[in-house]
Symmetry: C3
Subunit: 317 residues, 3 copies
């Protein structure tokens, strides 16, 4: 694997899942693989879970990790070619990426969308520039439109809990929030569930919240949350801002919050969320504190998923 920025970079999702679960049961079995290799983690936006879980995954493989949180440092990169850089940008990504590529064996990059210019965000010009100019494998730590390390942890969690043999019914439902959030997590979850092909997959959201069909095609899509949740084995809860009326909040309809009552209509459905989650806005306390919530286990699986990805990249170095 030479990059990991989309489900399309995973040639075999089931084998990644198996490796993740193998790392979970034996975290340190591959400590020699990453020895004397360095993972650089570049955060153009803040991160808690991704940063820590990826650091631990890399350490488990024997790698050194260098974190650079540049989101607060006013290190403004230029991404356009041919520009006279007499404004606010102080370094071009051509140099920045190439230099980082001199220093690290694998480069992780986090960068959120601006949510104002859809075409620009969906071009993924930021992470693609690092892929193009760094000269080393690049791992997305969440980009403008996708979050593959999260999605891999999500499918690992579904497999871990549900096992094989039968296709689980997976419902992803929009839920309200007070801020305009990226589509990266729902896009990515949809992309992975579809690419994996091992689920019966439904997406529920209010009208206007249709996601990019590049990621959702193959899923059943409905504006009826009850319908989607009925008999679901897994309920993936997430807010996102509109894709078509780009970055807008079209609804804050409280009735879309996921409640204990709604979960009762599922098939003992396990409730998933990428975290952080606003309690009693997105999901009710009773759900998060009850036996159906697997959000902490899901967050824990971020380590093993990252480890499976790093392992595969290390093997290709």
């Amino acid at each position: 694997m030479k990059k990991f920025i989309s489900a399309q970079d995973a040639s075999n999702i089931n084998s990644l899942i198996e490796r993740a679960l193998a790392h979970k049961s034996n975290p340190l079995a591959n400590q020699e693989l990453g020895k004397n290799k360095t993972l650089g983690l570049l955060f153009l936006n803040p991160s808690l879970r991704t940063r820590i879980s990826t650091q631990i995954a890399a350490k488990n493989l024997g790698m050194e990790v260098i974190v650079f949180n540049v989101d607060k440092e006013g290190w403004q990169l230029e991404f356009s070619d041919g520009v006279v850089m007499n404004g606010n940008t102080s370094e071009h990504v051509r140099e920045a990426a190439a230099v980082l590529g001199q220093y690290v064996s694998i480069l992780g990059v986090r960068s959120f969308p601006g949510l104002t210019d859809r075409e620009k965000d969906y071009s993924e010009y930021i992470i693609n520039s690092f892929v193009k100019f760094s000269g080393v494998p690049v791992v997305s730590l969440e980009s403008a439109t996708l979050h593959p390390l999260q999605s891999l942890a999500d499918v690992v969690t579904i497999r871990e809990i549900f096992g094989t043999g039968r296709k689980p019914k997976v419902a992803m439902t929009w839920a309200p929030h007070v801020k305009a959030l990226p589509q990266a997590v729902p896009n990515s979850f949809a992309q992975w569930i579809n690419a994996w092909g091992d689920c019966d997959f439904t997406i529920a959201h209010p009208e206007g919240y249709e996601l990019d069909t590049a990621f959702t095609k193959g899923a059943t899509i409905t504006n009826n949350q009850d319908e989607a949740l009925a008999n679901a084995d897994f309920v993936y809860v997430k807010n996102w801002s509109a894709y078509h009326q780009y970055g807008k909040i079209l609804s804050s309809d409280h009735s879309w919050m996921v409640t204990t009552k709604k979960i009762e209509k599922t098939n003992h459905g396990k409730v998933m969320h990428c975290l952080p989650v606003r309690r009693n806005v997105v999901i009710e306390d009773g759900v998060l504190d009850g036996p159906n919530s697997i959000v902490v286990q899901q967050a824990g699986n971020r380590v093993w998923s990252a480890q499976a990805v790093l392992e595969q990249i290390l093997k290709s170095l």
Copy 2:
């Protein structure tokens, strides 16, 4: 030891002191103990000495260390139960702590008091939430009302210099400052000296600066600094804001600054301070630059104290 947030968590202070001094003379004797264990250090407020000394202590024990300085990142945690999180808080400590507990073997937490609501600060709801929800041992890196790693270093320093056989006369004196500071360091020093029981202990402060008797009881308390310092073997200097008129600065009486002249009335008294110290406000230059100051040795001992604590926790994992 399953947590370290108060002197009450130390079942045997003398044995912790002995271990700290043993680490000082042989820092790397226990490098296998923490192998493949991770220490997470969560800073909700800034830290220099505590952060670095604890990192080194953990490394000396073979641990990996992950630092997350979230004080600047606008990661606002919710601590109240049942709240509709539609305001500024983006994650509940129930999730935050539980997820961190998935990633690390031991969790250190620093969190300062607000100094406006005494009851809230003294409930120690922040660090207690991490104890309750993380599922791993929690070490205080200074909480709202206590700073046990500092206090352990303080008693280690007293023992190292004074030896055993005779009880040293220890005077803790309030000194002026320009800002309203927490009571954590003086509370904690008083708590540890009292729990240790190996000192003749006096506390001096201007009227109105009485500390919580939960920590000070057992000590002689006076408003006369000269009296407290007379024949003292150790003079612990520290400013704090008022406990009863909570968080208030009631005095900036310059005559409480610790000067060379005052130290002459002690028994060649060693001068201690947790640092940082404002020179010529809290303590006079002549004292800090003279032979009685042990503040740098005291700060150095932070490493060995943290190492003793982490060692004891690692042994209980």
Copy 3:
């Protein structure tokens, strides 16, 4: 080597260069040398290249690294003696440096000039205070007036490309910029090239941009860029603010930008810059994207130069 803050601290530049190139061909040959030693990197100003390259260099030598980015933390140090610290400074460097010296084996410090008070900046009171009070070897990570780790990487790069046998013609040229920048990089490059003695060295800048002769003496100095670049083997491009009219921008003359056309007049001159570089302000796109640019290789060599310096200091511990 007991400190590394100037070319004068390098007793033998050629031997440092040789060691740097040896590390480049065999990065991990000296992994035992730094074992159980800690490098502390204190950033009073931001850093990307220096921070990462020095971290990797130290890891290659088996050291632990602790980074403290205090530039954003409002940790204001006092450097003047005898001051009553009732203002904004909360800790005196006498304590800060001494305490850091308790924690680390080698201390790196980055601190930029204020560019308003030349005498103060050129006294190098900040880094010199750490040298004086820390009690451990201090490495400059760029100080007010010099940047020796950069300059060593620069001479390493020249040697690596040009080999020995003939003196390369090296031209350092001022180029325009939108901000007032320190003189540290050009001062330091001049100091090293002069101390090395292995180059035919010319400096070109507009009138008024004369650097401190303490660093430039020995070099040919001209206001004619064409003259300086003619037949140059290496063109070192850099903006700086005025030394005499201290910190001022006296010119933004676009005609000093380094262009493809200008490079054609050199002897297939290799173009160097310490980065970050503002494209089409300092250097034209065509140069940076063309075969003459060695800026990425030069940045890569920061690792090996830092490793050579740390190695020599470790050997003297």
